[in-house]
């Protein structure tokens, strides 16, 4: 592993990945990755398609089981924990293909993630009215207030992306894993998205984001982790990573060679 910077100890580590490996039929999608996601900052995962970024997310959220290695959430190992339990610990995510609750309305999509009830009654504290109020706030923040009664399936592309964000905002998670949340957005939507994200970070959300858009990477990242071929090539401050000619040649192509 290319050591770009010595880990600065300042913010506490929320999630720690240690020597994580995941292979599918012998092919290693993630290989010996060790990474710390620190509290209150935005860590960006960059790397070419197929580098294992989404696989890493799936490993963290428990959708996949690692072949070896450990994942620790606030110093507790969460390997083998069911995804819904990991979610309740405070890890929420979006999906690259969104996976909205497509036959439900926008309102229901947001409301249902606030509700933890597995039994026939609502086990969470807080009245229904409060929840409805909160849903409306979120829909307003994401610009979906006029689409509350529309089925997710019938939304336009950008609106779906915002619904995906609205859903994650409705959780009480401390950490968000965002898988290419801004891809395909037009410039105006994209501005709205960045503003939204900055606001959430100020609220104290820890974010790990997979992003290709250099602009976003540069403007929002507190740290960048660089993956390629399932391996973590570098991990450090944006200037260090982006300033490293070797890395940028892998990802952004060689300059003037």
């Amino acid at each position: 592993m290319l050591q770009v910077s010595k880990a600065p100890g300042s913010p506490a580590t929320l999630l720690e990945i240690a020597n994580l490996t995941k292979s599918f039929d012998g092919v290693k999608a993630v290989e010996d990755v060790s990474l710390r996601l620190r509290e209150g900052i935005i860590t960006t995962l960059v790397g070419p398609n197929g580098a294992g970024k989404t696989t890493l997310f799936n490993l963290i959220t428990g959708h996949l089981r690692p072949t070896s290695g450990d994942i620790r959430w606030q110093d507790e190992s969460i390997v083998g924990t069911a995804p819904w339990k990991i979610a309740r610990l405070g890890v929420a995510r979006t999906f690259q293909d969104l996976r909205l609750f497509s036959h439900m309305t926008v309102f229901e999509n947001v409301l249902t993630v606030m509700e933890k009830s597995a039994w026939f009654w609502q086990s969470e504290a807080g009245s229904g009215a409060e929840r409805h109020q909160r849903v409306h706030e979120i829909l307003e923040a994401t610009g979906l207030q006029h689409n509350a009664g529309v089925r997710a399936n019938d939304l336009a592309y950008a609106e779906r992306k915002f619904l995906s964000m609205a859903r994650i905002m409705a959780t009480k998670a401390k950490m968000w894993l965002l898988d290419e949340p801004a891809s395909g957005l037009d410039p105006r939507s994209y501005e709205r998205f960045v503003t939204l994200l900055r606001g959430e970070v100020r609220r104290g959300i820890t974010i790990c984001i997979i992003e290709h858009n250099l602009e976003i990477v540069v403007s929002i990242s507190d740290r960048i982790s660089f993956l390629d071929q399932g391996r973590l090539l570098a991990d450090g401050e944006p200037e260090e990573i982006l300033g490293n000619p070797e890395l940028s040649s892998i990802y952004f192509g060689e300059r003037n060679s």
Binding site: P48, N49, G184, H212, Y251
Partner: protein, 237 residues
């Protein structure tokens, strides 16, 4: 334009009421590498598939050699000398390379007696395939698979190749290794290539012309050099 091999006018494509391509017009000229860039979801792959007749268009015209096509279909396009190297691998993992070639030639109607000769010709262009032609495609490495996919498209002796993100899943080094032969091939055979690529820096090195797509529309046409200098446009991918 007289040197247009393929021209597309006002092409529209949508799925279930959602417009994916809106009023697209472009030309692929003879003997050029045209690079199509844009974000995920901008409609690049859909454009390619619509061109090749995999996706049904809802409006607009597609012409090859100035001849309007009533309804493009993969088989017809192949007969007109156009080959598609689709996104992903474009191979059937359970089939051997030989079988994939056989299937491709059968599908595009290459006469039986010409088939061995075609395979020989392709193997002479991409000689490395000889070392693994009997293996199942699923067991090959990413680069080898991509090579098979390109070879498969070449079997119909195309004048134009449509290549959809050949870099996906390839190590950057491998991709570089792939691009140079593609360029050589293009020059050697006088091919036109429409290249969709995210890895623009690499792609630009072999491109003659660049189209920038966003939200189902072409927003800019330029040369690779000009685009690389255009900071405003560069930030969109």
């Amino acid at each position: 334009m007289t040197d247009a091999l393929i021209s597309v006018d006002n092409l529209r494509v949508g799925y279930g009421g959602r417009v994916v391509l809106d009023d697209i017009s472009l030309q692929i000229r003879k003997n050029e590498v045209l690079c199509l860039v844009g974000h995920n979801g901008a409609g690049k792959s859909t454009l390619m598939n619509a061109l090749f007749g995999v996706v049904t268009r809802q409006g607009g015209e597609i012409s090859v050699d100035g001849q309007r096509l009533h309804q493009p279909e993969p088989k017809k396009m192949a007969a007109l000398g156009i080959g598609l190297v689709p996104e992903g691998r474009g191979i059937f993992p359970g089939l051997t390379v030989d079988e994939i070639f056989q299937l491709a030639m059968w599908a595009t109607g290459v006469p039986q007696r010409e088939r061995p000769e075609r395979i020989e010709w392709v193997m002479s262009i991409l000689p490395r395939i000889k070392t693994f032609h009997a293996r199942r495609a699923g067991t090959l490495s990413g680069g080898q698979q991509q090579m098979v996919s390109i070879a498969r498209a070449l079997l119909s002796r195309p004048r134009c190749l449509l290549m959809d993100e050949p870099s996906i899943g390839l190590a950057p080094k491998l991709f570089q290794d792939l691009l140079q032969p593609i360029r050589q091939l293009q020059q050697q055979l006088g091919l036109s290539i429409l290249l969709v690529e995210q890895n623009v820096k690499e792609a630009f090195k072999i491109s003659d012309r660049v189209l920038v797509m966003r939200s189902g529309a072409i927003i800019h046409e330029t040369s690779p050099e000009a685009l690389a200098d255009n900071k405003v446009l560069m930030q969109f991918y």
